[in-house]
Every structure is written in structure tokens, then in C-alpha cells.
């Protein structure tokens, strides 16, 4: 599989204004810290983690909706971080995003037709009649009908609004879509419809997804490979079967164990990890997970673990695994 996207050393530190101008910028929120991964063409990479782990910041940086502090984002071999704003805007035709809250992402004063047409008009890919035909084609593509074109977002249910958001993201025939918690706000019976739609679109249009979510079940279902983030770092990345069947990192193990399964009593057990997620303003020294890790060792409190590859294609950043050989980075 050829790589469509490769991210290296991606980092985002937000300066946090604390009071007056004299000490502004002294505190740094280390939202994303030295993140590396690749996404193959036509693949879905799942990105999971709890709130504040930096997963959404990663997604937005890929499209430079948030500017990275440092790092490279290579899309089809070109480093997007170095592009001038005009050139970057042109690249965004090929890279789109679908947000969690379809209501917040759709302008309530625009009709569905105008919402879907907007990117076409901005990029001037089609005109007049053709643009309108394209809107109707997209509506049908996402399971809506032509008569919906004249309506406004508030007339739709949450699931239908997410379909509108997806139609808009597809308007310019992108190759890559960041799906940022696209089903988290939806009712359970509607979630499955949207997940199936995203999979159908991928199969038909050859799309590549970065699928960001906190729901491990949904991520497992839709992804080919999965990356797990904790406090701004990727702690583990691997093929989904291997990662779920044999998670290497204690955090991944805890995360999977914490999912309540729809099997009575079988799954009633003690919490795998205690404590809360530390602040990204002041992340723990050494391994960032050491304050909650059930397998913590002295070295974890001092030394940040390197990313290694204990099994082919399965990378982990944890002192439980031999540290001497650094991972050959391009493998992921």
C-alpha cells in the first residue's frame, strides 16, 4: 500500500495566557508532542484516546486548521507545513473534515443546497447547472433526496445533519477525510447507519480516513489500523486485530478493559486503572502514563520511553519492551 499521508514529529504547544502581559506565554499546554504516523492510500487509521489527549488537535493540524508548532505533514509526498496559505487552500480540495456536531458545523441560515455548494463555489470546480446537479448527486450519495436541497439544517434530525456534513465534505472529490468523532453525538440506532455510510463511501470512492473517536467499539469496527493517544503522545499503533487482541501498552489494555460490554455480569470487574488524566500543562516526567500505570517501574518516572516495534507493524512506547533498538520510523 502506498502512503498517502506521513506525519513526523508533529507537535502543538499552545501558549496559555496566565493573567497580565508580563507573564503571558509562560505556561505551555503541550497538546500534541512529537507524533509520528502514516496513513496508507485507501486505509482507515483510527485515532483513539480520552478527552484532552490531543486527538482532535492532530486531526485539525493535518488540514492546517490549527498550525503545528513543529513537525512535517507529508501529503502525497509534499510537506504541507511549508506551503504558502494560497497553495495550502488549493490542497484542501483533497483533504476534508467531518465534525462531531453536525449542527454546529452547518450554517443555520443557509439551505442544504447552498451548504453543499459552498466549497464548489469557493474552489470554482463547477458552475451553475453543473453545480446544482452535483449537489443532487451528493444528496443521493449520502442517502438524502432532492427535495431536501431547499430545506434548512434545523429541519433535519441529527443523523440527517451528519449526512449533510458528509455530502459537503465530498463535494470536491477529496482523497482524504478526517472524521472527527462523526457519530459520537448520534443516537445508537443512527450511529450504525452513518458508520455503514462512511464505509460504503470509502469502498466506492477509494477514500482514505483518519477516524478520530473515543468509542473503542466504533473505532475497531471501521479501522484497518489503530493509534492510541495519551496526553499528547501516541503510545501504541498497530493493525486493529493485533491491537485489540493483544494490546501491548498498559494504557491500551486499561482502555479496552474499561469498555462496558453488552454482556451482563460477565464483564463486572474492578477498574483496571485508578486516578485521573494529568494536566497537559504539566505532564508527568518520563512516561506520561506512569502516574496511573499498574505496571510502573522506577525507570518510567525518569526516562521517556522510546517507540519500539516488538512485533512487525506493531509499535509501542513503553519501558516493558526492550528499548535498545529504535523503531525504523517509516514502517508505520
Amino acid at each position: 500500500m502506498t502512503e498517502l499521508l506521513r506525519v513526523a514529529g508533529l507537535t502543538k504547544h499552545f501558549p496559555v495566557g496566565q493573567g497580565g502581559p508580563l507573564n503571558r506565554g509562560k505556561a505551555m499546554l503541550r497538546a500534541v508532542d512529537d507524533v509520528n504516523f502514516g496513513v496508507g492510500s485507501g486505509e482507515t487509521l483510527g485515532l483513539v484516546g480520552e478527552s484532552g489527549c490531543g486527538k482532535s488537535t492532530v486531526g485539525r493540524m493535518l488540514l492546517r486548521l490549527i498550525e503545528p508548532t513543529t513537525g512535517r505533514i507529508e501529503f502525497e509526498g509534499e510537506n504541507l507545513v511549508e506551503l504558502a496559505p494560497e497553495a495550502m487552500r488549493a490542497r484542501r480540495r483533497h483533504m476534508q473534515i467531518v465534525f462531531q456536531d453536525p449542527y454546529g458545523a452547518l450554517n443555520p441560515r443557509m439551505t442544504v443546497e447552498d451548504i453543499i455548494k459552498e466549497p464548489i463555489e469557493i474552489h470554482r470546480t463547477l458552475n451553475g447547472r453543473d453545480a446544482r446537479d452535483r449537489v443532487l448527486e451528493l444528496l443521493e450519495r449520502v442517502g438524502l433526496v432532492a427535495e431536501h436541497a431547499r430545506r434548512y439544517p434545523h429541519e433535519f434530525s441529527g443523523g440527517q445533519r451528519q449526512r449533510i456534513g458528509i455530502a459537503r465534505a465530498l463535494a470536491l472529490n477529496p482523497r482524504f477525510i478526517v472524521c472527527d468523532e462523526p457519530v459520537s453525538a448520534l443516537d445508537v440506532s443512527i450511529q450504525a447507519q452513518i458508520v455503514n455510510l462512511l464505509q460504503d463511501l470509502q469502498a466506492d470512492l477509494g477514500l482514505t480516513y483518519l477516524f478520530i473517536a473515543h468509542d473503542l467499539g466504533v473505532v475497531k469496527h471501521i479501522s484497518d489500523r489503530v493509534a492510541v493517544m495519551y496526553l499528547g503522545k501516541i503510545v501504541e499503533i498497530g493493525a486493529k486485530r493485533a491491537l485489540y487482541a493483544e494490546p501491548l501498552h498498559p494504557y491500551t489494555q486499561a482502555l479496552i478493559a474499561a469498555v462496558p460490554e453488552a454482556k451482563p455480569r460477565a464483564s463486572r470487574r474492578k477498574a483496571a486503572i485508578t486516578g485521573e488524566i494529568p494536566s497537559a500543562l504539566n505532564p508527568p516526567k518520563g512516561c506520561r502514563f506512569h502516574t496511573r500505570c499498574p505496571k510502573v517501574m522506577p525507570v518510567c518516572r525518569e526516562v521517556e520511553p522510546r517507540t519500539t516495534e516488538p512485533k512487525p507493524g506493531h509499535l509501542v512506547a513503553c519501558h516493558l519492551y526492550p528499548q535498545e533498538a529504535p523503531a525504523p520510523t517509516p514502517a508505520a
Binding site: L216, G217, V259, P260, E261, S267, A272
Partner: protein, 325 residues
């Protein structure tokens, strides 16, 4: 004997085009010490049911049009605000999805916990403080003594939910209503809070009504489950029976549409269509327009609850014909 007995509850909301029933003809019981799960999606009426029990419905637009809610032998619907206040706290406590909506941002958590003790026990200052510390300790807040002076915004979401639980339990209620208590929390914190609730249930010997959209949460916590759809109770069963032999097409659809960690299917099964608009629900079975098993009779009349097994009821006229799963 039931701790709580809800009979034929109907709650109407005033809408643009007249009143509609957000909860319609709902009946169920809750035994002392039992954990009852109420599952449903948006508009199912699960939260409205809980608010009716607490006497906390927004009135207007809501009103209870019919039914009874009997708690320890007394019909709460006949009570005025003053009597309800006597029940809330020592009788029934409640926690919500978003603790910030229930905690007052301008008072310390100590003030709020101590006030609760003061109101319900008329205890002195020292006793109030001791109780507050004791409760924070019980809900797993480390350094409880120091935490009394914290304001709600200084706490994480998980910690706030623990404080909410401490406030609800400080009067030792016989029933705790937990409305989506972990929905806003991360999965590792959710697990801690659910475990805490079950531990406290043992310790306080209280019943819990846990309202959630998450089938996994129900499976891990409940003794018995009620499934609601569009304002109606469609199925109720002991938790094992519900997951082993779901007897309503909606319950089956809901269980099938969840992607499970243990499963390898290529496609998810879906329930077609969308949830009905509460103001214009189908006349017969409310699930009929989305149901793969529908026949003419389903749209004609509201299906009654029929017994499938001991304690297991389904509001589906074709429940006998559904294939065994």
C-alpha cells in the same frame, strides 16, 4: 413489596401544535435495593420519567396528566412542593449527567455538602463538617478535608460527579436516580464511577434507577432493565433475560447496531429510518414504521405488554414469531 411503583404514567408537554405525550402509559416497579436500568434513545421519555418521580418536571410546559407514582406507600403525585422536599434527599436522591448544572459555582463543595446536611438533619456545624468529610471520603476523593474548600470549577469532571454522588447520598436515600451519570465522562473514569455506585449501593442498601442510552452500562450494573421507545415502555426483563433473549424488535435492533469489541462483522446491522417526532408519533406501535416485522395490525392499535417469561414482558404482538437468536 415495591419501594417505588409507577402506574400508567402519562406526561404531556405543551408544543406548538397542542399537547403531546412525552411519556405514555408507563408502569413499572422497583424493589428495595434493586438496580433498575432504563435504556432508550433521545425522546424515549426516560429522563422525563425520572423527573416526574422527583417532582422536578418543568411546569409548564410539562404536566402529569394521568397515573400514580407510589414511593413507600405514598403517592408522590398528590404531594405539594413542601412534602416533596421531605422526600427528596432522605427518600430519593438524584444525580445528573452534567454535575456542573447541579453544583453551585459560587459556593465551595464543603458549603454545598454541609448545607444539605443542615437542611435535612438540622445538625450543628461540627457534625455537618464531619459528615461532609466522611462522604467525600466514601466517594473516593483523596484528602477530603482539604477538598472542602475547593470550588466546583477546580475539580475534574470525574471528581465533580463524585461530589454529586456524595451530595445525593449524604441523607442516606432509599432510592438513587442516576440520569446518564457517566455519559460525559471518559471510559476509564466511567468504569470507576460505575464501580463506586455499585459499592455504595451495598453499603447504603439503597435501590438505584440508572438511566442511560448505553447498553454496556446497563449490562454491567442493572439487575433488571426497562427499554423505552418514543415515550413507551416496550420491554422489561431481568438483565440476563434481556440480553440473552431480547423479545422486542427494537431491543434487538439496538443490540445489533452496537459495534462490539468482540465482533468481526464487516457491516453493522442498522435500524432504518429515524426516531419519531414526539409531537407526531405513529398511532399504533410507535416502532412500527422502522420495524422489519411489522404487519397491518401493528399500526392499528397500541400493542399491550405481554409476558414472555417470568418477569419478562414485551410490547410486541409478534413476539412469539420472532426467531430465536
Amino acid at each position: 413489596m415495591s419501594l417505588l411503583s409507577v402506574r400508567n404514567l402519562q406526561v404531556l408537554f405543551a408544543g406548538e401544535h397542542g399537547e403531546f405525550a412525552a411519556v405514555d402509559d408507563v408502569s413499572f416497579d422497583l424493589a428495595p435495593g434493586e438496580v433498575l436500568g432504563i435504556v432508550g434513545e433521545s425522546g424515549s421519555g426516560k429522563s422525563v420519567t425520572a423527573l416526574s418521580i422527583m417532582g422536578l418536571l418543568p411546569r409548564p410546559p410539562a404536566r402529569v396528566a394521568r397515573g400514580s407514582i407510589v414511593f413507600e406507600g405514598e403517592d408522590l403525585l398528590r404531594y405539594g412542593e413542601r412534602d416533596l422536599r421531605r422526600i427528596r434527599g432522605p427518600g430519593i436522591g438524584m444525580i445528573f449527567q452534567e454535575p456542573m448544572t447541579s453544583l453551585n459555582p459560587v459556593f465551595t463543595i464543603g458549603d454545598q455538602l454541609m448545607e444539605t446536611v443542615r437542611v435535612h438533619e438540622r445538625a450543628g456545624q461540627k457534625r455537618q463538617r464531619d459528615r461532609a468529610v466522611e462522604m467525600l471520603d466514601k466517594v473516593g476523593i483523596a484528602g477530603a478535608e482539604r477538598r472542602l474548600d475547593d470550588y466546583p470549577h477546580q475539580l475534574s469532571g470525574g471528581m465533580r460527579q463524585r461530589v454529586m454522588i456524595a451530595m445525593a447520598l449524604i441523607c442516606n436515600p432509599r432510592l438513587l436516580i442516576a440520569d446518564e451519570p457517566t455519559t460525559a465522562l471518559d471510559v476509564t473514569i466511567q468504569q470507576q464511577i460505575l464501580e463506586l455506585l455499585l459499592d455504595l449501593r451495598e453499603e447504603f442498601r439503597m435501590a438505584i434507577m440508572i438511566i442511560t442510552h448505553n447498553m454496556g452500562v446497563v449490562a454491567e450494573t442493572a439487575d433488571r432493565v426497562i427499554v423505552m421507545y418514543a415515550g413507551r415502555l416496550v420491554e422489561q426483563a431481568p438483565v440476563d433475560g434481556l440480553f440473552a433473549r431480547p423479545a422486542h424488535p427494537y431491543t434487538r435492533g439496538l443490540l445489533d447496531s452496537i459495534p462490539k469489541l468482540s465482533d468481526e462483522r464487516e457491516r453493522l446491522k442498522t435500524i432504518p429510518g429515524t426516531l419519531p417526532n414526539p409531537a407526531s408519533v405513529p398511532p399504533g406501535c410507535r416502532f412500527e414504521p422502522r420495524c422489519a416485522w411489522r404487519v397491518g395490525a401493528c399500526a392499528a392499535a397500541v400493542p399491550p405488554l405481554a409476558a414472555i417469561a417470568a418477569g419478562h414482558d414485551s410490547a410486541c404482538i409478534r413476539h412469539r414469531e420472532l426467531p430465536v437468536q
